[in-house]
């Protein structure tokens, strides 16, 4: 593992230390929550602890410590769920357990339907659509209302250029990927390679950009993380769906021209989940 990190110009000791630091901070904030009333302070607390669990979990992926990563992603998911953020679904995609978020999600769906213009930003619904479209291939669906999903899709089409997540990938990229798995929502007919290209290319570009700043990269002192949950959360959903179709995401990605560091990271993390 240390050789793997060294090849990525990362330091295992730094990652372990920061992982433990972030996890402890998150737990400490979590311990305060029972004393909180509703309001901005509570939401800030949840957001900080969610962020730190997320970061600690991503560090664990780099360390090839899958069980700790999954535990921390579960903690992050719970925090995002308490914030009623659909991003919790992306956190859940890293976990071994089947998502048990149905009651919360049903409430979120109801709120979305009733409060279309939002308590949270409407484009966060993209995460719901993503899980809905991929989940159909798992034989069961948590989302029993295709018409409602169609309505979300139609709403989000207006936000195609809107940046999503850490890397600011256009929301349209997510819609196109969703459309690949759910032809009922989109008739554009992209291939899996075309659908994945914005994510793989976005990730590759980010790694190449970030690694040039050796000072911040070595300390992982950037918002973008080498095991970026925004990217790998989506890829793990895709991987699980492709496995059901007896396809391999790693094989699909093999055809993409990537920096050696990007490929090493992609293969390493995807293999640990396959």
């Amino acid at each position: 593992m240390e050789e793997y990190l060294e090849a990525l110009r990362l330091d295992a000791d730094t990652i372990v230390r920061d992982r433990d630091f972030c996890a402890d901070i998150a737990r400490a904030y979590e311990a305060t929550l029972t004393q909180q009333e509703n309001g901005d302070m509570r939401d800030d607390t949840l957001a900080v602890l969610a962020t730190n669990f997320r970061r600690a979990a991503a560090h664990s992926l780099l360390l090839d410590d899958l069980s700790t990563a999954q535990e921390l992603f579960v903690n992050a998911a719970r925090a995002y769920e308490r914030l009623e953020s659909p991003y919790a679904l992306i956190m859940r995609s890293f976990t071994a357990q089947a998502p048990s978020y149905r009651p919360r999600l049903e409430e979120q769906l109801r709120r979305q339907w009733e409060e279309r213009a939002s308590r949270y930003f409407p484009f966060q619904s993209i995460y719901i659509l993503l899980v809905y479209s991929i989940g159909r291939y798992e034989g069961t669906t948590e989302f029993a209302d295709p018409e409602y999903m169609r309505n979300i899709w139609e709403d989000l089409e207006a936000y195609r250029a809107h940046p999503v997540g850490i890397l600011g990938l256009p929301l349209g990229s997510y819609l196109d990927l969703i459309g690949y798995f759910d032809e009922g929502l989109s008739r554009r007919g992209f291939s899996i390679e075309e659908s994945l290209l914005p994510f793989i290319n976005g990730y590759n570009t980010a790694v190449r950009q970030a690694i040039q700043d050796r000072y911040h990269w070595r300390r992982l002192a950037l918002p973008f993380h080498p095991a970026e949950p925004d990217i790998f959360g989506v890829l793990l959903l895709v991987q699980s769906a492709l496995i059901r179709k007896e396809q391999s995401l790693i094989e699909v990605v093999r055809t993409f021209p990537l920096a050696s560091e990007s490929r090493r990271l992609l293969n390493g993390i995807l293999r640990s989940y396959s």
Binding site: T14, R17, D18, F21, D24, I25, R27, A28, Y29, A31, T32, Q35, Q36, D40, M41, D43, D44, T45, A47, V48, A50, T51, N52, R54, R55, Y80, S85, Y87, Y120, F121, Q124, P163, V164, G165, I166, L167, G168, A206, Q209, A210, Q212, D213, R214, Y215, H216, R219, A221, L222, P223, F224, D230
Partner: protein, 228 residues
Amino acid sequence: MIIQQVIKGIGDISRDQAEDILYRTGILCTWWREVTYLPMVEVPQRLTERNLFWHQNRYEDLDPLENDQPYHLRTPFISTTAGTVERRRFWRTNILNPAWLEALRFGTNSGKRNAYLFYCYVFIIGKKAVGHYSFAEEVRELNIYNGYSPFQPEGEITAKIVIPPAQIEKAEFWTVDQIKEDRRNNRVPQPFEVLPPLPPNPSFIPPDDYNNVRKVLSRKVLPKEVPT
């Protein structure tokens, strides 16, 4: 113009050095510390876009303009952090980083060394002003994606040459042992000591009389938590 609260974490300095910063010298850029007496005539030559880029992206790289010495030894810039101050940013990026935590993590190297966190304010003009040493650069505004960059530390504000004592409110002393103790007991870490022990810092000029003070997110999570 905006007055922005920021925090600067500095590790491995003594109490005397912290008091020097707080009451006498302010936070100096490494260039000034390196040369002892600042040659003002060189300031405009150093406050350039190129040097700002190097400060933000090539901090440890060997600088051909400085006899291949690591750039950070002669930078005229000072990195500080305001963390995430806009809650809307959280809903776009799904992460929220308070300034104190960013400064603590950096200053202590994630709990590995003692550090002082200096609570300051800087002036931001809202546009690029690299050549003006009076104004700090708000890195997040220099980039695409709604003023946010995935490749710069979240909330980085780059000051120039010096942050004078008049703009430094207090300093918190954080120790490795205290942080470990807090972590062991599942407590949000607290500083071991605050300077000055009794406010206010006599050198500090509060910005309260000015408009447009943009604050950082507090460490406080409970209304009754003891203020530091």
